[in-house]
Symmetry: D3
Subunit: 317 residues, 6 copies
């Protein structure tokens, strides 16, 4: 037994991130556990573990990415089966936490789905959560169970730092990206600029305001998520109109890549798109200008430390 | 205010059963409430109510039929939004309760998804449930909130009784269908037979045993669910081999109709398939020999009685 | 410390099954723990443990058999005292789970006592449950804590197999016993028959229908419980009228033996009654034709495996 | 509808206090609701309500007196059935709260059954509690639901005041009765005395110490409960030895009367025993010197006020 | 009874905001309820309601401002007493939600006190919350009970709009204030600027970066809270150095005014400080240049609508 | 790892009892853990642990003494941070449990703050509690988590026994102190007396009644708490009037010493005041006649035994 009071470390992998799961397992020199996951003809999910889980220290790896409802239910069912199989401790490893953007009410009579999902996980029997780059840090507070919240920003900063971009400027494409952009700018020691979409009044002449200088500079955008790439596209248009160098670099932890995202990212002024593998990008959607940084070492090391009751925060120092 | 202490009766309809929802609303001379339900490009569901729900007596109608995980999450999100919008009482009207067949462990280390779903509904904020023909009555016990559990069997008995079948025999196609079949046989005053799939041992000659007489009789099968129609098909083969009249009648509350179901039901020896509209059957899958009985009057009357604090059990007398 | 993270395995025994408890302890080469259980003159139960329970892996053995409410309250109080005494893990070993037959609503405005009892156990502080032959598998779903659900059917199959009955037929005495009867028939490779009590209509001639052949065959009945033996008696009457061999064998896991049970089982056509000791049968009620198979090895082995975090399902292979 | 937001006031009566229940109903000019309560041959309790309970303001009257475990389980089952029948609000009217004396740990590894019972009631679905003379006021704090806690002391004070005892002294028979005795002495404007059972050391000469004067005075004892009457007997011996007038008056709210109580109370020096009907005393145990004061008006008035959202505390002014 | 199913609207006021409470009551033409709140010599808080609360629709008004722990405990105790007094519905009206800034983990092994406080309120028995300008919208998701979250921004926009500032620029003094500043800029149709405090590296020349033009413009700062006014001071220094008009306007909903705040706000370049009365500012700390806008009409109207089950979101249109 | 299944024993100390915490740590040959506890200018508490707590067996030492609300909130925040830091087991060591005197309702519409505090501790994440001399044993029942409840009475009995007082009498100064006084009298083999404050009626001549002899004897008073010393003062007046030896000894576990306590204890007839250090008495308030017995060995030994899963009750034998 490890010094956690639980049994062996065991990894099980949901159907969302098989490759990432395998990478994590390899890093830890462990097999992934045998679990039958199937869908009946009517769409219901069936889960059965093919090996003993009693008392063990179980990590279930599942991103709740597209199709989000399928992957979320699969995760809940996997956890329920573990609870009933007397697992010692169940950690949900959720590299991409879907519905995280719905973390508050922007209009009356909406759901706060990010909180609902937290409650569903706890209801199913999760004891702790390991994740990367939640849309807002407050989501940690949606849980009362321990959450280990990793950041991919150092991966991007290291990668970009090694590239040696000169003349760069970090641009926050909207007000929600300001904090993250500032952190990257601090790491890279670059200036910042911010783009605001202004509410268009009767006599507003300009719907967009760019604060900070971008002319003649190479923009670097950083977001937690690239969804339809709409924000990136709008930002690119504005920056180019303001005279930036037409070689925009885009970083995002979670490559949702929905709807017109691929088409939008294909425009030549976007020089590079750097993402992680918290959501798998199928090969046919992987443009040559895309770079995928692996989150596996980060996750694997965190899993190892959790199992050994070692500090996870030391990972970042 | 009605005499429940809650406000007005309001109906909202999820995306699974729009026609049934409309029928229920018409029966009650009510509009269905205005609610925005949409899916973002990345597949996440968004819900916003377009009218005030404070203190009202809300009924949310949603079958958790195919795609079950989508419909279930939609229901959970609709309920979360209502809770946060200060709804007075939230009744989940779930004509078809998906995952209900996974109500126990048939092997170790499985989930009991039927219980998990009950817990998820309560976690999201449901105060009571209205449903039809749960796979097992014990599912009521998965909830500690009140459940009104309606039965469609009288609809089938009335319909078949009006047809005036002579020479009929109710056949339970497997051991799980015995109780329901007996109830129908009692209602129609017909004899019973049972088909058993036997575990094949080394020296077992016959893999199937039919107990009771079927030769020269017209079989009536009744199930809670027709899924892939595999059970019906196997039963038909056995009954025909035993010399039954080749005009088999099949009743089922929930028309899941997955995979090869339509092809299997098309065989001519199946004379009629009688289902309800707890799950919508798209027109292109509606064979001429299918009869759809509407569950709307039953559900609407139950909703009315719940809102007025009247006995729902009197519905059945 | 064992590899569960809990302390020593300790057994404590409620007042319902002292002999079974002793047998289990002997099998495990352990003493039963010292606990004072007494009733005050006014009927209230008092419980005090006479040895340290802090952090230990405690198994409390108690069947909630007659007097069910006394035994249930005793179990709840024993568990409350353990929780307050800082026991590490509390497993309720409930060989016979009373109130298990009330697992659904058969009429409106009834309780579902089987679920209520599950909630009471969890409220008192039980962490897991070990039991044999619940009335319905769905009762496992009444709990969200792990349940290890053992089956006595292999004991009966082995015993009957060794007897070498020829010409046997397994008969389900009513619709509720069909599934269990089929399993025994599969194990013994015997044919099946089913008895249905039909609802008596205005023109029903026969209140009972037997499907399958029994004439000239030796019937074997299997039930989870023999309560007043009413079902057995009615089945015997029907089978004898249909010409079966007048040597009926009756198996039941739980020997409730209430009211007229002993008298009814005394009739000579019942050749043998085979039960287990999940409920103690007092010597004066033990007819010569009764065989009591001990559930102690099964329970003891399960306890051992739970304590060692080994698979309990392997017990059955 | 009343102004509680719930439906009609309905009374249902458990099997412990049929007469008291009837008296309460008569006081309120209401019938007691129809409910089937039976015991199966194996001792399990069955409960079914024979009238609609949806949304109503239900009061279930049950003392958890001897046999305490039977009555408690009956109450829990009655509440579970009400919850599942969609009762609007469920108030447990528990005139005698059994297990209330076990409200703390007097030794290690004991249960605190008074708290356990509170949790069981809440688990079953009770929304509020109405009771009389809990053994300790702190038991109110075992609940987080509202508790209306009535006192019978004014009944005794009025009764004794009308008798016009001269030369009286209120005597607390042990340290636990001091507070209650003081309250009665204050009401009757009489002196107080206290009897202490001393722990007998090696050189202790007197095992009992009486503080205060009793010689030539008529003692009045008041307790919440007379159980075996052991305390009363010991007190009487001491008081008589100290020269009190041999006409002892004993008051107690709850007439548990277990074991040798009747015999002990029969001794002639005990002139009168005054109790209430929170626990029914069967006629054959009712000595001529016993006076039973009815708690029905107190309970009925409290029920009426709870239903009407009126202050219950005003009852006492 | 109102149409909420609860009784009368009653207001009770904690000791933090007596004037605001009185204003709200006056607006609603209601008295504030009588409640005794005192502190014992040892500092413990005592609460007793002097009027009946059964079934009523209670609003408890308390800002958890300085001394925050005192005011929070007072609120919790007030709520506990209401719950035990059978209040119908308990709404905590918390104009200033203390600890709201600790809504996420900025370092490992910190508390998320904003979530803890939410849980404490629910534990004490709060049914719903009414508040103004939470530090982050996600705090709504810390609750599963309904939260009505009002905004003071329109009050500031109206006030500033009426002043007719020309040549203004809204400046976000740090990255956390960007969103709120943008909303005010949109309302006033003014340009935006942002100040970033940069992480000082080895070769960073400028520790602050201002993006957007401020030279010759009149800055308007808006924050949810002015605590020690450190942010305001730093922003003023930067803006003045960049050549802004030395007439800075500062808006903040919650006037915490801790430590050196008064001294810092006194500097002449700060022309006006506009706050609300969610936290009372004692007269001796009220500088002539301070304007206090009352939140009472907003809160009172929201309370009225909550009581009448009317939409609160309509307040903003 | 110890044999509890948790990691190392770690002590952290809140700001209420630094000296006691240090003494406990020294006794256990352990350092106190490093934790940053600070107050912001606005009074909010900030907590951060400076060392890893994952999986460890953590004891947080904090008396909820004056200022009680500050110390309580500090404890809750310390526990929340530990929970989020994945502590293995969190034991709140609360030598003085503030609000414990409010353990029942003495008037309608009061809070039961002693229960509320118990719920707040559990809500924050406490797993178990260690405390000394709760105001009433029933407070243990306010928790469902294990409580180890130590008693200081043996410390007082030993101390007084060693002094060899002759001619002593233990006097309970009011009805609430009777039980504790009797225990001390038993230990010291001394007689008992009780003082009653009588409710003053129209014709009551004496507002105080002393039962038992005190003339010419040396009184010993024992209480759980000395708050304002009002009870002691009143008792001293009465005892002196009754002719006791003017050398009164006062014992109390918890030295709250609020308001006029010091002045009152200064009177010469009070010969000695003996307290423990569950609440620190600042040196300037420590009169020469005060004796402080340390509770550290008792608490330290209990902590050691809890960590080692050894019986704590053996501490008392």
């Amino acid at each position: 037994m490890s010094n956690t009071g639980y049994g062996e470390l065991k990894l099980f992998c949901g159907s969302s991130v098989p490759t990432l799961g395998k990478e994590i397992a390899d890093y830890l020199h462990l097999p992934t556990g045998r679990v039958t996951l199937m869908r009946f003809a009517d769409g219901e999910i069936y889960c059965r573990y093919e090996e003993n889980a009693r008392g063990e220290d179980i990590f279930v790896i599942q991103s709740t990415c597209h199709p989000v409802n399928e992957h979320l239910m699969e995760l809940l069912i996997m956890v329920d089966a573990l609870r009933r199989a007397s697992a010692g401790r169940i950690t949900a490893v959720v590299p991409y936490y879907g519905y995280g953007r719905k973390d508050k009410k922007d209009a009356p009579r909406e759901a706060i789905t990010g909180r609902l999902v937290a409650d569903l996980l706890v209801t199913a029997g999760v004891h702790r959560v390991l994740t990367i780059d939640l849309h807002a840090g407050q989501i940690e507070g949606f849980f009362n169970i321990p959450v280990d919240h990793l950041r991919a920003l150092p991966l991007f900063a290291d990668y970009l730092g090694r590239k040696g971009l000169t003349n760069g400027v970090v641009v926050a494409p909207d007000d929600g990206a300001v904090r993250r952009s500032k952190q990257l700018a601090d790491r890279l020691d670059l200036p910042l600029a911010v783009i605001f979409q202004r509410r268009v009044g009767t006599d507003t002449k300009e719907p967009v305001q760019v604060v900070g200088d971008v002319e003649g500079l190479t923009p670097i955008l950083i977001e937690d998520i690239i969804d339809t790439a709409g924000t990136v596209t709008r930002a690119a248009d504005v920056l180019l109109a303001k005279g930036c160098v037409p070689e925009i670099h885009v970083c995002a932890t979670h490559a949702v890549f929905a709807g017109p995202a691929m088409e939008r990212l294909s425009r030549p002024e976007i020089r590079e798109a750097i993402v992680t593998n918290t959501i798998p990008v199928p090969p046919e959607r992987l443009l040559p200008k895309m770079t995928v940084l692996s989150a596996a070492p980060l996750l694997a090391e965190a899993i190892r430390r959790i199992h050994l009751n070692q500090s996870v925060s030391l990972l970042f120092t």
